[in-house]
């Protein structure tokens, strides 16, 4: 069943940069879609256009029978909360505990005055701890988030996204700031929530070896256009040079 659909999506930044040009694709429920492409090819912009962190210039984004790009205010926030997001720089709240960071994922479903006072319900706290258990960090719940290692911070970010109870998880270069072994650990957690919790994942990646291991489908961008859509196994040498250019050499990560 189609969960998310993009129709002739275009994005031009105020400075005139055309970041996305006529993007058409759809994502089915339960997919692990990986978006690849060079830096500046529009991967990050695409993810941010999906949850409207960046407003789109033209085209449409359909999510759960709704035009996301036409929503505003409360309705937009409600739908955004159904789309989790994790980032290359983790973007946790500094000087706050891991648990507080995870609970921040429930902001959209918490009254403002309660969230300002930090009054989360027992059920919410239980749930936050449960998600921390899924990413294997239950014992770090009361540690300050900025004291954790990079890989651990990214796992907290995953738990925070899960706290939103999302249908889709957007992952913007989730392992680009991590070392190889930590990268695999974080990717395995993403695979786990994709398979066990049934959360659809759209993930930007740099390393083709990671793409082959984890992706169920691949979408390649070049200069803001889709140049390849298909199975990860079908990316051969020729496609590789089309996507990354003549001088690129495939680097693997073990």
């Amino acid at each position: 069943m189609t969960l998310l659909r993009s129709e002739n999506l275009c994005k031009t930044y105020p400075n005139g940069t055309k970041a996305l040009n006529q993007i058409n694709f759809s994502v089915d429920e339960g997919e692990f879609l990986v978006v690849i492409g060079l830096s500046g090819s529009g991967k990050s912009t695409l993810l941010r256009c999906i949850n409207q962190l960046h407003p789109i210039s033209s085209g449409a984004i359909h999510f759960e029978q709704q035009r996301l790009d036409q929503l505003q205010g409360r309705a937009l926030r409600q739908h955004r909360s159904r789309i989790g997001m994790i980032f290359q720089q983790f973007n946790l709240i500094p000087r706050k505990s891991v648990l507080t960071n995870v609970l921040a994922g429930a902001l959209a479903s918490t009254p403002i005055w309660k969230s300002l006072l930090g009054l989360y319900s027992k059920a919410q706290q239980q749930q936050a701890l449960a998600y921390l258990r899924i990413v294997g960090l239950e014992h770090k719940a009361y540690v300050r988030a900025d004291n954790l290692s990079g890989g651990q911070q990214q796992r907290v970010a995953i738990a925070r996204a899960l706290m939103q109870n999302p249908k889709i998880l957007l992952a913007d270069e989730p392992v680009a700031s991590l070392d190889p072994s930590t990268s695999h650990s974080v990717m395995k957690y993403l695979q786990k929530i994709n398979r066990e919790l049934g959360v659809t994942v759209i993930c930007n990646l740099h390393f083709l070896s990671l793409v082959r291991t984890y992706a169920s489908r691949v979408l390649a961008l070049k200069d803001g256009k889709i140049v390849y859509q298909g199975a990860p196994e079908d990316i051969d040498e020729q496609w590789f040079t089309t996507i990354y250019g003549e001088e690129a050499v495939e680097v693997s990560i073990n």
Partner: protein, 357 residues
């Protein structure tokens, strides 16, 4: 491809225009420098020294003539290398091998500087003769002897006045915190640039704050002492107003310097703007805020003593009274108490701020 060609053409056309603009600016700069120098030479060199006039009058026609003369000189020199303006706007190619001090423009610039230095000494009436005169030295000795023999009988009185000063500074700071905290969000460019309305609020607020800050607390104290009467209250109001303005500026700069990441992450969770600020912005600014606020209290204590001089209450007012009565032994005591408090506040605030890092 088409794009790049257009830009190259534009650049080719823009270059002479830019050069033209720069040479006009350079000429204006030369005119100003020469008019100023000629005016100073006339007033100082001709009237004050050559004619040895006791009192030099000023007429509005003089700067006008100076401006005309400056235009003449600047124009006649504009095709030579002796032009400070052309050097400043990069219109003169400097010879790498030669010393800068052998360049005509640099030498001319130094000459202008020397002229200003001489004029400054003359205008401030700097006089070694006055400084080392017998009667002057005797007076200085009298005051220093008295200051160094402070009158300990008024120690209690001075201490009470000092406590008043510290509390006054504390209340001014404490009341300024919530006001500045709220205003800072409206004075932060990164939060307000998104719509025309919010940017207008930002611009107006920034302007008002800069205006308030550019008026010294001493002047505010004079205004408030007329408004609410002489005493600690007027001093407190003056410090409060100045603190609000400067804390708003410091706080908002801190907000402008935050990382966008947490804000973006909170937005992506579907949080309300208020929640985004509370979770994405506030945790990043709490410690710098505390540090600035304590520093501000420290500054306020120091300013409070000065403000007392114009009737802002506390130890400053006491200082002003005793100095008016020429009771130098008492003044000596007050100076010691003020120095001790300022040192203590300075030390304590530095310690606390170091631990907040």
């Amino acid at each position: 491809m088409g794009n790049t060609m257009i830009t190259e053409q534009q650049v080719a056309q823009a270059m002479p225009v830019k050069r033209y603009q720069a040479s006009i600016k350079a000429w204006c700069m030369d005119v100003l420098l020469w008019s100023y120098s000629l005016l100073v030479l006339y007033k100082l060199g001709y009237q004050s020294w050559w004619l040895d006039l006791r009192h030099v009058d000023f007429y509005w026609s003089e700067p006008l003539y100076a401006l005309l003369a400056g235009m003449l000189v600047a124009s006649s020199l504009s095709y030579t290398k002796a032009s400070v303006g052309k050097a400043c706007y990069g219109l003169i190619a400097f010879d790498e091998g030669r010393s800068l001090f052998r360049t005509a423009a640099v030498r001319l610039g130094l000459l202008f500087l020397l002229l200003t230095l001489i004029a400054g000494l003359q205008v401030s009436q700097v006089s070694m003769r006055e400084f080392f005169s017998d009667s002057g030295l005797a007076g200085a000795q009298r005051i220093f002897t008295a200051l160094l023999n402070p009158n300990f009988a008024i120690f209690e009185e001075a201490l009470f006045a000092a406590v008043e000063t510290v509390y006054m500074a504390f209340i001014a700071t404490a009341l300024a915190i919530p006001v500045a905290f709220v205003l800072a969000f409206f004075a932060a460019r990164n939060l307000m640039k998104n719509s025309a309305l919010s940017f207008a609020i930002y611009a107006v607020l920034r302007f008002l704050m800069n205006l308030t800050r550019s008026i010294e607390p001493l002047v505010w104290a004079i205004i408030f002492s007329v408004w609410v009467g002489i005493g600690p209250f007027s001093g407190m109001l003056a410090l409060f107003l100045h603190s609000v303005a400067s804390l708003t500026k410091l706080y908002s700069e801190q907000i402008e310097a935050i990382q966008d990441g947490p804000v973006e992450a909170m937005t992506a969770t579907g949080a309300h703007p208020i929640q985004i600020i509370w979770y994405g912005v506030v945790p990043q600014i709490v410690l710098p805020y505390l540090s600035y606020t304590i520093y501000r209290w420290d500054i306020n204590v120091r300013m409070a003593t000065v403000i007392g001089l114009v009737g802002g209450g506390g130890i400053g007012t006491m200082l002003m009274q005793y100095q008016g009565l020429a009771r130098w032994n008492d003044v000596g005591m007050l100076v010691i108490v003020i120095a001790a408090i300022v040192w203590l506040m300075d030390y304590a605030s530095a310690k606390i701020r170091a631990h907040l890092k």
